[in-house]
Amino acid sequence: MSALIGAQLRERRRAVLTWGLPIGLWSAFIVAIFPSVESALSKAVQSYPTALKEAFGVGNLSTVEQYLNAEMFSLIVPLAVGYLAVRSVASGLSGAAESGRLDVILSAPVSRVAIVRAGFCAAAAEVAAVLVIALALTMLGSAVSGAGLSFSSALAGFASVWPLALISAALGIIVTGFSLRTSTVTGLVVGLLVGMYVLDLAGRLDTSLDWIRYGSVFRYYGGAIEKGIDPVSFFGVVVAAIALAAAGGVLFDRRDLAA
Protein backbone atom coordinates (compact mmCIF):
# COMPACT_ATOMS: atom_id res chain seq x y z
CA MET A 1 0.00 0.00 0.00
CA SER A 2 2.95 2.34 0.65
CA ALA A 3 3.78 2.16 -3.08
CA LEU A 4 0.27 3.37 -3.95
CA ILE A 5 0.34 6.14 -1.34
CA GLY A 6 3.77 7.28 -2.53
CA ALA A 7 2.64 7.30 -6.16
CA GLN A 8 -0.46 9.36 -5.37
CA LEU A 9 1.52 11.83 -3.28
CA ARG A 10 4.05 12.23 -6.11
CA GLU A 11 1.20 12.80 -8.51
CA ARG A 12 -0.26 15.45 -6.18
CA ARG A 13 3.02 17.08 -5.10
CA ARG A 14 2.19 20.34 -6.84
CA ALA A 15 -1.18 20.54 -5.11
CA VAL A 16 0.53 20.60 -1.70
CA LEU A 17 2.30 23.82 -2.65
CA THR A 18 -0.52 25.37 -4.67
CA TRP A 19 -2.84 24.98 -1.68
CA GLY A 20 -0.41 25.28 1.21
CA LEU A 21 1.21 28.52 0.03
CA PRO A 22 -1.97 30.60 -0.57
CA ILE A 23 -3.66 29.42 2.63
CA GLY A 24 -0.47 30.01 4.61
CA LEU A 25 0.28 33.40 3.04
CA TRP A 26 -3.27 34.63 3.59
CA SER A 27 -3.18 33.39 7.15
CA ALA A 28 0.22 35.07 7.68
CA PHE A 29 -1.21 38.30 6.28
CA ILE A 30 -4.16 38.15 8.68
CA VAL A 31 -1.80 37.62 11.61
CA ALA A 32 0.64 40.29 10.42
CA ILE A 33 -1.99 43.03 10.17
CA PHE A 34 -3.55 42.23 13.53
CA PRO A 35 -1.38 44.64 15.62
CA SER A 36 -2.37 47.55 13.37
CA VAL A 37 -6.11 46.82 13.26
CA GLU A 38 -6.55 45.54 16.80
CA SER A 39 -8.14 48.61 18.37
CA ALA A 40 -10.40 49.38 15.40
CA LEU A 41 -11.60 45.80 15.35
CA SER A 42 -12.69 45.79 18.97
CA LYS A 43 -14.88 48.82 18.37
CA ALA A 44 -16.36 47.36 15.19
CA VAL A 45 -17.17 44.03 16.78
CA GLN A 46 -19.01 45.69 19.65
CA SER A 47 -21.54 46.96 17.11
CA TYR A 48 -22.28 43.46 15.68
CA PRO A 49 -25.57 41.75 16.71
CA THR A 50 -24.97 39.26 19.54
CA ALA A 51 -26.49 36.30 17.65
CA LEU A 52 -24.26 37.01 14.69
CA LYS A 53 -21.18 37.19 16.87
CA GLU A 54 -22.07 33.88 18.52
CA ALA A 55 -22.89 32.21 15.21
CA PHE A 56 -19.56 33.10 13.66
CA GLY A 57 -17.55 32.83 16.84
CA VAL A 58 -16.52 36.46 16.80
CA GLY A 59 -17.66 37.38 20.26
CA ASN A 60 -14.38 39.03 20.97
CA LEU A 61 -11.45 39.94 18.74
CA SER A 62 -9.04 41.22 21.33
CA THR A 63 -6.35 38.57 20.68
CA VAL A 64 -4.61 37.46 17.52
CA GLU A 65 -5.91 33.93 18.09
CA GLN A 66 -9.52 35.18 18.19
CA TYR A 67 -8.93 37.27 15.07
CA LEU A 68 -7.33 34.34 13.19
CA ASN A 69 -10.16 32.08 14.28
CA ALA A 70 -12.80 34.47 12.95
CA GLU A 71 -11.00 35.28 9.70
CA MET A 72 -9.59 31.87 8.77
CA PHE A 73 -10.89 28.97 10.82
CA SER A 74 -14.60 29.76 10.86
CA LEU A 75 -15.07 29.23 7.11
CA ILE A 76 -12.14 29.68 4.71
CA VAL A 77 -9.72 27.02 5.95
CA PRO A 78 -12.25 24.24 6.65
CA LEU A 79 -13.99 24.64 3.29
CA ALA A 80 -10.75 25.04 1.33
CA VAL A 81 -9.13 22.06 2.99
CA GLY A 82 -12.34 20.02 2.68
CA TYR A 83 -12.34 20.76 -1.04
CA LEU A 84 -8.65 19.84 -1.29
CA ALA A 85 -9.29 16.52 0.48
CA VAL A 86 -12.08 15.48 -1.84
CA ARG A 87 -10.03 16.51 -4.87
CA SER A 88 -7.15 14.44 -3.56
CA VAL A 89 -9.18 11.31 -2.97
CA ALA A 90 -11.03 11.76 -6.26
CA SER A 91 -7.76 12.00 -8.17
CA GLY A 92 -6.81 8.54 -6.93
CA LEU A 93 -10.20 6.99 -7.76
CA SER A 94 -12.54 8.74 -10.20
CA GLY A 95 -9.71 10.82 -11.70
CA ALA A 96 -7.62 7.67 -12.12
CA ALA A 97 -10.58 5.96 -13.76
CA GLU A 98 -11.02 8.88 -16.16
CA SER A 99 -7.34 8.97 -17.12
CA GLY A 100 -7.03 5.19 -17.49
CA ARG A 101 -4.55 4.92 -14.60
CA LEU A 102 -6.98 2.85 -12.53
CA ASP A 103 -7.12 0.16 -15.24
CA VAL A 104 -3.34 -0.02 -15.30
CA ILE A 105 -2.99 -0.24 -11.52
CA LEU A 106 -5.81 -2.77 -11.23
CA SER A 107 -4.06 -4.96 -13.79
CA ALA A 108 -1.54 -5.61 -11.02
CA PRO A 109 -2.30 -7.83 -8.03
CA VAL A 110 -3.89 -5.14 -5.90
CA SER A 111 -7.42 -5.05 -4.55
CA ARG A 112 -9.79 -2.17 -5.01
CA VAL A 113 -10.07 -1.86 -1.24
CA ALA A 114 -6.30 -1.38 -1.06
CA ILE A 115 -6.58 1.40 -3.64
CA VAL A 116 -9.30 3.07 -1.58
CA ARG A 117 -7.22 2.78 1.60
CA ALA A 118 -4.20 4.23 -0.17
CA GLY A 119 -6.29 7.08 -1.60
CA PHE A 120 -7.67 7.92 1.83
CA CYS A 121 -4.25 7.80 3.49
CA ALA A 122 -2.69 9.88 0.70
CA ALA A 123 -5.45 12.49 1.04
CA ALA A 124 -4.87 12.58 4.81
CA ALA A 125 -1.12 13.04 4.29
CA GLU A 126 -1.62 15.68 1.60
CA VAL A 127 -3.96 17.71 3.79
CA ALA A 128 -1.55 17.37 6.74
CA ALA A 129 1.31 18.67 4.56
CA VAL A 130 -0.80 21.65 3.44
CA LEU A 131 -1.71 22.43 7.06
CA VAL A 132 1.93 22.21 8.14
CA ILE A 133 2.96 24.67 5.40
CA ALA A 134 0.12 26.99 6.36
CA LEU A 135 1.06 26.76 10.04
CA ALA A 136 4.72 27.51 9.28
CA LEU A 137 3.88 30.55 7.18
CA THR A 138 1.40 31.79 9.78
CA MET A 139 4.01 31.59 12.52
CA LEU A 140 6.45 33.37 10.21
CA GLY A 141 3.90 36.15 9.75
CA SER A 142 3.49 36.41 13.50
CA ALA A 143 7.25 36.53 14.07
CA VAL A 144 7.79 39.22 11.44
CA SER A 145 4.92 41.44 12.64
CA GLY A 146 5.37 40.76 16.32
CA ALA A 147 1.69 39.71 16.62
CA GLY A 148 2.56 37.25 19.38
CA LEU A 149 0.60 34.28 18.10
CA SER A 150 1.06 31.27 20.37
CA PHE A 151 2.48 28.26 18.51
CA SER A 152 0.45 25.75 20.50
CA SER A 153 -2.77 27.68 19.77
CA ALA A 154 -1.99 27.94 16.07
CA LEU A 155 -1.07 24.25 15.98
CA ALA A 156 -4.39 23.36 17.61
CA GLY A 157 -6.26 25.58 15.15
CA PHE A 158 -4.71 24.03 12.04
CA ALA A 159 -4.79 20.49 13.44
CA SER A 160 -8.50 20.77 14.23
CA VAL A 161 -9.25 21.13 10.51
CA TRP A 162 -7.69 17.76 9.70
CA PRO A 163 -10.61 15.55 10.86
CA LEU A 164 -12.99 17.70 8.80
CA ALA A 165 -10.83 17.04 5.76
CA LEU A 166 -10.90 13.31 6.49
CA ILE A 167 -14.71 13.41 6.55
CA SER A 168 -14.64 15.19 3.23
CA ALA A 169 -12.31 12.56 1.76
CA ALA A 170 -14.45 9.74 3.14
CA LEU A 171 -17.60 11.27 1.65
CA GLY A 172 -15.71 11.48 -1.64
CA ILE A 173 -15.03 7.73 -1.48
CA ILE A 174 -18.69 7.03 -0.78
CA VAL A 175 -19.79 9.11 -3.78
CA THR A 176 -17.18 7.32 -5.93
CA GLY A 177 -19.11 4.15 -5.16
CA PHE A 178 -21.88 5.61 -7.34
CA SER A 179 -20.09 7.87 -9.80
CA LEU A 180 -16.67 7.83 -11.44
CA ARG A 181 -16.95 11.41 -12.68
CA THR A 182 -14.58 13.65 -10.74
CA SER A 183 -16.78 16.70 -11.24
CA THR A 184 -19.77 14.83 -9.77
CA VAL A 185 -17.78 13.54 -6.80
CA THR A 186 -16.28 16.94 -6.03
CA GLY A 187 -19.52 18.86 -6.58
CA LEU A 188 -21.61 16.57 -4.40
CA VAL A 189 -19.14 16.52 -1.51
CA VAL A 190 -18.56 20.27 -1.57
CA GLY A 191 -22.34 20.71 -1.67
CA LEU A 192 -22.65 18.43 1.35
CA LEU A 193 -19.96 20.35 3.23
CA VAL A 194 -21.63 23.68 2.53
CA GLY A 195 -24.99 22.17 3.50
CA MET A 196 -23.55 20.94 6.80
CA TYR A 197 -22.01 24.35 7.43
CA VAL A 198 -25.37 26.06 6.87
CA LEU A 199 -27.08 23.48 9.09
CA ASP A 200 -24.63 24.17 11.87
CA LEU A 201 -24.98 27.92 11.40
CA ALA A 202 -28.79 27.71 11.55
CA GLY A 203 -28.55 25.71 14.77
CA ARG A 204 -26.25 28.30 16.28
CA LEU A 205 -28.43 31.26 15.24
CA ASP A 206 -31.65 29.70 16.55
CA THR A 207 -31.10 27.72 19.74
CA SER A 208 -34.45 25.96 19.31
CA LEU A 209 -32.90 24.33 16.22
CA ASP A 210 -29.78 23.25 18.03
CA TRP A 211 -30.65 19.58 17.47
CA ILE A 212 -30.11 19.89 13.72
CA ARG A 213 -26.43 20.54 14.34
CA TYR A 214 -26.03 16.82 15.07
CA GLY A 215 -26.39 16.30 11.33
CA SER A 216 -23.36 18.45 10.69
CA VAL A 217 -19.70 17.65 11.20
CA PHE A 218 -19.18 21.35 11.97
CA ARG A 219 -20.89 20.78 15.31
CA TYR A 220 -17.72 19.01 16.37
CA TYR A 221 -15.41 21.68 15.01
CA GLY A 222 -14.41 25.20 15.94
CA GLY A 223 -12.63 27.31 18.49
CA ALA A 224 -9.63 24.99 18.89
CA ILE A 225 -7.21 27.87 18.38
CA GLU A 226 -8.67 29.56 21.49
CA LYS A 227 -9.76 26.62 23.63
CA GLY A 228 -7.45 23.87 22.44
CA ILE A 229 -8.47 20.64 20.74
CA ASP A 230 -11.36 18.68 22.22
CA PRO A 231 -9.97 15.12 22.01
CA VAL A 232 -13.43 13.53 21.97
CA SER A 233 -14.56 15.62 19.01
CA PHE A 234 -11.21 15.28 17.24
CA PHE A 235 -10.89 11.51 17.52
CA GLY A 236 -14.64 10.97 17.19
CA VAL A 237 -14.66 12.67 13.79
CA VAL A 238 -11.50 10.81 12.74
CA VAL A 239 -13.10 7.47 13.64
CA ALA A 240 -16.31 8.46 11.84
CA ALA A 241 -14.28 9.36 8.75
CA ILE A 242 -12.46 6.02 8.80
CA ALA A 243 -15.78 4.19 9.14
CA LEU A 244 -17.28 6.16 6.24
CA ALA A 245 -14.18 5.50 4.12
CA ALA A 246 -14.43 1.77 4.88
CA ALA A 247 -18.10 1.79 3.82
CA GLY A 248 -17.08 3.66 0.67
CA GLY A 249 -14.45 1.00 0.01
CA VAL A 250 -17.13 -1.69 0.04
CA LEU A 251 -19.25 0.31 -2.41
CA PHE A 252 -16.27 0.89 -4.66
CA ASP A 253 -15.38 -2.80 -4.59
CA ARG A 254 -18.91 -3.78 -5.63
CA ARG A 255 -19.32 -1.35 -8.50
CA ASP A 256 -18.49 -1.89 -12.15
CA LEU A 257 -15.54 -0.05 -13.61
CA ALA A 258 -16.84 0.53 -17.09
CA ALA A 259 -14.40 1.46 -19.85
Binding site: L4, R101, S107, P109, V110
Partner: protein
Protein backbone atom coordinates in the same frame (compact mmCIF):
# COMPACT_ATOMS: atom_id res chain seq x y z
CA UNK B 1 -5.46 -26.92 -18.76
CA UNK B 2 -7.42 -23.95 -20.07
CA UNK B 3 -5.93 -20.62 -19.09
CA UNK B 4 -9.25 -18.85 -19.61
CA UNK B 5 -12.67 -20.46 -19.45
CA UNK B 6 -15.93 -18.58 -19.66
CA UNK B 7 -19.28 -20.29 -19.32
CA UNK B 8 -22.29 -18.42 -20.74
CA UNK B 9 -20.71 -15.18 -19.60
CA UNK B 10 -23.29 -12.42 -19.70
CA UNK B 11 -23.04 -8.75 -18.87
CA UNK B 12 -25.87 -6.27 -19.09
CA UNK B 13 -25.45 -2.54 -18.47
CA UNK B 14 -28.94 -1.88 -17.15
CA UNK B 15 -31.19 -2.77 -20.08
CA UNK B 16 -28.35 -2.66 -22.59
CA UNK B 17 -26.67 -5.91 -23.56
CA UNK B 18 -22.88 -5.86 -23.23
CA UNK B 19 -22.32 -9.54 -24.01
CA UNK B 20 -24.57 -12.55 -23.66
CA UNK B 21 -23.80 -16.25 -23.28
CA UNK B 22 -20.16 -16.04 -24.29
CA UNK B 23 -18.47 -19.42 -23.81
CA UNK B 24 -14.82 -19.60 -24.78
CA UNK B 25 -11.63 -21.28 -23.62
CA UNK B 26 -8.06 -20.22 -24.18
CA UNK B 27 -5.38 -22.88 -23.87
CA UNK B 28 -1.81 -22.72 -22.61
CA UNK B 29 0.61 -21.47 -25.23
CA UNK B 30 -2.21 -20.29 -27.48
CA UNK B 31 -2.80 -16.92 -29.09
CA UNK B 32 -6.56 -16.51 -29.06
CA UNK B 33 -8.29 -13.72 -30.92
CA UNK B 34 -11.47 -11.87 -30.01
CA UNK B 35 -12.62 -10.56 -33.35
CA UNK B 36 -15.47 -8.15 -33.85
CA UNK B 37 -16.34 -4.63 -34.89
CA UNK B 38 -16.05 -1.73 -32.45
CA UNK B 39 -18.74 -1.96 -29.78
CA UNK B 40 -19.25 -5.70 -30.30
CA UNK B 41 -18.47 -6.57 -26.68
CA UNK B 42 -14.81 -7.62 -26.87
CA UNK B 43 -13.73 -5.13 -24.21
CA UNK B 44 -16.65 -6.17 -22.01
CA UNK B 45 -15.40 -9.78 -22.07
CA UNK B 46 -11.87 -8.66 -21.18
CA UNK B 47 -12.98 -6.33 -18.39
CA UNK B 48 -15.09 -9.09 -16.89
CA UNK B 49 -12.11 -11.46 -16.91
CA UNK B 50 -10.13 -8.81 -15.04
CA UNK B 51 -12.98 -8.24 -12.53
CA UNK B 52 -13.38 -4.62 -13.65
CA UNK B 53 -16.95 -5.61 -14.49
CA UNK B 54 -19.05 -8.09 -12.56
CA UNK B 55 -20.96 -10.59 -14.70
CA UNK B 56 -24.75 -10.45 -14.73
CA UNK B 57 -24.83 -14.24 -15.28
CA UNK B 58 -22.42 -16.97 -16.13
CA UNK B 59 -18.87 -17.37 -14.94
CA UNK B 60 -15.29 -16.75 -15.91
CA UNK B 61 -12.24 -18.61 -14.66
CA UNK B 62 -8.63 -17.67 -15.32
CA UNK B 63 -5.86 -20.15 -14.40
CA UNK B 64 -8.71 -22.18 -12.89
CA UNK B 65 -9.49 -19.34 -10.45
CA UNK B 66 -12.80 -17.53 -10.17
CA UNK B 67 -12.53 -14.13 -11.83
CA UNK B 68 -14.62 -12.46 -9.14
CA UNK B 69 -13.43 -13.98 -5.88
CA UNK B 70 -9.79 -14.66 -6.78
CA UNK B 71 -9.12 -11.68 -8.95
CA UNK B 72 -5.98 -10.50 -7.17
CA UNK B 73 -4.32 -13.92 -7.52
CA UNK B 74 -5.28 -13.97 -11.21
CA UNK B 75 -3.87 -10.52 -11.90
CA UNK B 76 -0.56 -11.50 -10.29
CA UNK B 77 -0.03 -13.86 -13.22
CA UNK B 78 -1.19 -11.80 -16.17
CA UNK B 79 -0.34 -8.63 -18.03
CA UNK B 80 -2.99 -6.35 -19.47
CA UNK B 81 -2.85 -3.64 -22.08
CA UNK B 82 -6.15 -1.71 -21.92
CA UNK B 83 -7.78 -0.64 -25.14
CA UNK B 84 -7.19 3.05 -24.74
CA UNK B 85 -4.08 3.07 -22.58
CA UNK B 86 -3.73 6.10 -20.34
CA UNK B 87 -1.99 6.91 -17.09
CA UNK B 88 -2.53 10.63 -16.59
CA UNK B 89 -0.55 13.42 -18.18
CA UNK B 90 2.16 14.24 -15.67
CA UNK B 91 3.60 10.84 -14.84
CA UNK B 92 6.35 9.35 -16.98
CA UNK B 93 6.44 5.78 -18.21
CA UNK B 94 9.27 5.09 -15.79
CA UNK B 95 7.19 6.27 -12.82
CA UNK B 96 4.33 4.01 -13.91
CA UNK B 97 6.76 1.13 -14.41
CA UNK B 98 8.31 1.70 -11.01
CA UNK B 99 4.90 1.57 -9.31
CA UNK B 100 3.80 -1.57 -11.13
CA UNK B 101 7.15 -3.26 -10.42
CA UNK B 102 6.67 -2.57 -6.71
CA UNK B 103 3.07 -3.80 -6.79
CA UNK B 104 4.19 -6.97 -8.58
CA UNK B 105 7.29 -7.44 -6.45
CA UNK B 106 9.57 -7.32 -9.51
CA UNK B 107 13.08 -6.03 -8.80
CA UNK B 108 14.75 -6.72 -12.14
CA UNK B 109 13.57 -4.28 -14.80
CA UNK B 110 15.97 -5.58 -17.44
CA UNK B 111 13.18 -6.94 -19.63
CA UNK B 112 11.34 -3.62 -19.40
CA UNK B 113 14.46 -1.77 -20.54
CA UNK B 114 14.99 -4.17 -23.42
CA UNK B 115 11.35 -3.76 -24.51
CA UNK B 116 11.77 0.02 -24.33
CA UNK B 117 14.84 -0.18 -26.61
CA UNK B 118 13.08 -2.54 -28.98
CA UNK B 119 10.00 -0.32 -29.33
CA UNK B 120 12.02 2.89 -29.12
CA UNK B 121 9.79 3.93 -26.23
CA UNK B 122 10.69 7.01 -24.20
CA UNK B 123 10.17 6.09 -20.57
CA UNK B 124 11.31 9.46 -19.25
CA UNK B 125 8.88 11.87 -20.92
CA UNK B 126 5.56 12.71 -19.29
CA UNK B 127 2.87 10.56 -20.88
CA UNK B 128 0.81 13.65 -21.67
CA UNK B 129 3.54 14.71 -24.12
CA UNK B 130 3.50 11.43 -26.05
CA UNK B 131 1.49 10.55 -29.13
CA UNK B 132 -1.13 7.82 -28.87
CA UNK B 133 1.21 5.36 -30.54
CA UNK B 134 4.08 6.15 -28.19
CA UNK B 135 1.79 5.87 -25.17
CA UNK B 136 0.65 2.51 -26.47
CA UNK B 137 4.28 1.34 -26.49
CA UNK B 138 4.57 2.28 -22.81
CA UNK B 139 1.34 0.39 -22.17
CA UNK B 140 2.77 -2.72 -23.79
CA UNK B 141 5.93 -2.50 -21.69
CA UNK B 142 3.82 -2.21 -18.53
CA UNK B 143 1.80 -5.24 -19.62
CA UNK B 144 4.74 -7.48 -20.52
CA UNK B 145 7.75 -6.42 -18.40
CA UNK B 146 7.19 -9.15 -15.78
CA UNK B 147 6.88 -11.97 -18.38
CA UNK B 148 3.31 -12.91 -17.48
CA UNK B 149 1.74 -16.32 -18.09
CA UNK B 150 -1.17 -14.64 -19.84
CA UNK B 151 -1.05 -11.45 -21.86
CA UNK B 152 -4.34 -9.67 -22.51
CA UNK B 153 -4.16 -7.12 -25.30
CA UNK B 154 -7.20 -5.03 -26.15
CA UNK B 155 -6.83 -3.53 -29.64
CA UNK B 156 -3.04 -3.37 -29.13
CA UNK B 157 -1.88 -1.98 -32.46
CA UNK B 158 -4.26 0.94 -32.77
CA UNK B 159 -2.25 4.11 -33.22
CA UNK B 160 0.97 2.30 -34.10
CA UNK B 161 2.78 2.79 -37.39
CA UNK B 162 3.14 -0.30 -39.63
CA UNK B 163 6.72 -1.03 -38.56
CA UNK B 164 5.77 -0.94 -34.90
CA UNK B 165 2.70 -3.07 -35.60
CA UNK B 166 5.06 -5.70 -37.03
CA UNK B 167 7.27 -5.50 -33.95
CA UNK B 168 4.21 -5.73 -31.75
CA UNK B 169 2.92 -8.83 -33.44
CA UNK B 170 6.31 -10.49 -33.33
CA UNK B 171 6.37 -9.90 -29.58
CA UNK B 172 3.03 -11.71 -29.36
CA UNK B 173 4.51 -14.64 -31.25
CA UNK B 174 7.51 -14.66 -28.93
CA UNK B 175 5.21 -14.76 -25.91
CA UNK B 176 3.46 -17.75 -27.42
CA UNK B 177 6.81 -19.45 -28.18
CA UNK B 178 7.81 -18.88 -24.58
CA UNK B 179 4.72 -20.86 -23.55
CA UNK B 180 2.53 -17.94 -22.52
CA UNK B 181 -1.06 -17.55 -23.62
CA UNK B 182 -2.25 -14.39 -25.33
CA UNK B 183 -5.80 -13.06 -25.59
CA UNK B 184 -5.86 -10.43 -28.30
CA UNK B 185 -8.91 -8.41 -29.24
CA UNK B 186 -9.02 -6.76 -32.62
CA UNK B 187 -11.30 -5.60 -35.36
CA UNK B 188 -8.57 -6.24 -37.95
CA UNK B 189 -8.86 -9.61 -39.61
CA UNK B 190 -5.31 -9.40 -40.99
CA UNK B 191 -3.88 -8.91 -37.52
CA UNK B 192 -5.80 -11.83 -36.04
CA UNK B 193 -4.89 -14.07 -38.95
CA UNK B 194 -1.20 -13.27 -38.55
CA UNK B 195 -0.82 -14.35 -34.94
CA UNK B 196 -3.87 -16.22 -33.66
CA UNK B 197 -4.48 -19.93 -33.72
CA UNK B 198 -8.17 -19.67 -32.88
CA UNK B 199 -10.60 -16.85 -32.85
CA UNK B 200 -13.95 -16.04 -31.27
CA UNK B 201 -16.14 -13.86 -33.42
CA UNK B 202 -18.29 -11.48 -31.43
CA UNK B 203 -20.94 -9.22 -32.82
CA UNK B 204 -23.55 -7.09 -31.04
CA UNK B 205 -22.73 -8.79 -27.74
CA UNK B 206 -23.24 -12.30 -29.03
CA UNK B 207 -20.71 -15.03 -29.75
CA UNK B 208 -21.04 -15.85 -33.44
CA UNK B 209 -18.48 -18.64 -33.62
CA UNK B 210 -15.21 -19.99 -32.25
CA UNK B 211 -13.01 -21.28 -35.05
CA UNK B 212 -9.42 -22.01 -35.92
CA UNK B 213 -8.10 -19.28 -38.18
CA UNK B 214 -7.66 -21.59 -41.22
CA UNK B 215 -11.25 -22.83 -40.82
CA UNK B 216 -12.49 -19.27 -40.45
CA UNK B 217 -10.77 -18.13 -43.62
CA UNK B 218 -11.72 -21.31 -45.44
CA UNK B 219 -15.42 -20.73 -44.82
CA UNK B 220 -15.42 -17.14 -45.94
CA UNK B 221 -15.66 -16.39 -49.64
CA UNK B 222 -12.73 -14.78 -51.46
CA UNK B 223 -13.32 -12.71 -54.56
CA UNK B 224 -10.98 -13.94 -57.29
CA UNK B 225 -10.25 -12.17 -60.53
CA UNK B 226 -8.16 -13.86 -63.28
CA UNK B 227 -6.96 -12.34 -66.55
CA UNK B 228 -6.11 -14.99 -69.14
CA UNK B 229 -3.60 -14.39 -71.91
CA UNK B 230 -3.67 -15.80 -75.45
CA UNK B 231 -6.81 -16.76 -77.33
CA UNK B 232 -7.50 -20.22 -75.96
CA UNK B 233 -11.00 -21.00 -74.64
CA UNK B 234 -11.68 -19.80 -71.12
CA UNK B 235 -11.89 -22.54 -68.51
CA UNK B 236 -15.29 -23.57 -67.19
CA UNK B 237 -14.86 -22.64 -63.57
CA UNK B 238 -18.54 -23.00 -62.62
CA UNK B 239 -18.20 -26.77 -62.33
CA UNK B 240 -15.52 -26.49 -59.64
CA UNK B 241 -16.55 -26.92 -56.00
CA UNK B 242 -16.89 -23.67 -54.05
CA UNK B 243 -17.00 -21.43 -57.12
CA UNK B 244 -20.01 -19.13 -57.57
CA UNK B 245 -21.05 -15.79 -59.07
CA UNK B 246 -18.83 -16.24 -62.13
CA UNK B 247 -18.73 -13.23 -64.47
CA UNK B 248 -16.75 -12.85 -67.68
CA UNK B 249 -15.54 -9.55 -69.10
CA UNK B 250 -13.34 -10.12 -72.15
CA UNK B 251 -10.36 -12.16 -70.97
CA UNK B 252 -11.09 -11.37 -67.30
CA UNK B 253 -13.04 -13.90 -65.25
CA UNK B 254 -14.23 -12.98 -61.75
CA UNK B 255 -15.85 -15.32 -59.25
CA UNK B 256 -16.41 -16.05 -55.56
CA UNK B 257 -14.48 -18.92 -54.07
CA UNK B 258 -15.40 -20.64 -50.83
CA UNK B 259 -13.52 -23.56 -49.33
CA UNK B 260 -10.71 -25.49 -51.04
CA UNK B 261 -8.34 -23.43 -53.16
CA UNK B 262 -6.41 -26.34 -54.64
CA UNK B 263 -8.86 -27.52 -57.39
CA UNK B 264 -9.19 -23.97 -58.68
CA UNK B 265 -5.45 -23.41 -58.77
CA UNK B 266 -4.94 -26.65 -60.67
CA UNK B 267 -7.60 -25.66 -63.21
CA UNK B 268 -6.08 -22.20 -63.63
CA UNK B 269 -2.60 -23.66 -64.01
CA UNK B 270 -3.67 -25.46 -67.15
CA UNK B 271 -4.38 -22.11 -68.84
CA UNK B 272 -2.10 -19.15 -69.61
CA UNK B 273 -2.72 -16.66 -66.79
CA UNK B 274 -1.65 -13.03 -67.26
CA UNK B 275 -2.79 -11.77 -63.87
CA UNK B 276 -4.41 -13.08 -60.72
CA UNK B 277 -5.95 -11.17 -57.88
CA UNK B 278 -7.46 -12.65 -54.71
CA UNK B 279 -9.30 -10.24 -52.46
CA UNK B 280 -9.42 -11.26 -48.84
CA UNK B 281 -12.83 -11.49 -47.20
CA UNK B 282 -13.77 -8.52 -45.08
CA UNK B 283 -14.91 -8.92 -41.52
CA UNK B 284 -18.48 -8.20 -42.66
CA UNK B 285 -18.25 -10.94 -45.28
CA UNK B 286 -17.11 -13.37 -42.62
CA UNK B 287 -20.03 -12.39 -40.42
CA UNK B 288 -22.42 -12.85 -43.33
CA UNK B 289 -20.98 -16.31 -43.93
CA UNK B 290 -21.86 -17.31 -40.41
CA UNK B 291 -25.28 -15.69 -40.43
CA UNK B 292 -26.14 -17.31 -43.77
CA UNK B 293 -24.97 -20.62 -42.32
CA UNK B 294 -27.06 -20.14 -39.22
CA UNK B 295 -30.22 -19.23 -41.14
CA UNK B 296 -29.85 -22.07 -43.69
Amino acid sequence: MAVIETERLTKYYGEHRGVEDVTIDVREGEVFGLLGPNGAGKTTVIRTLLDFLHPTRGSARVFGLDSRRESVAIRARLGNLPGDFGYGKLATGREALSLLARLRGVADLGHAESLARRFRADLDRPLGQLSRGNRQKIGLILAAFHRPELLILDEPTSGLDPLMQEEFLSLVQEERDRGGAVLLSSHELDEVERVCERVAIIRAGGLVAVESVPDLLGKAPRRVSVVFSGSAALPDLKRLPGVSDVSVDGRRVSFRLTGEVDPVLKELASHPVADLEVARPTLEEIFLTYYEGASA
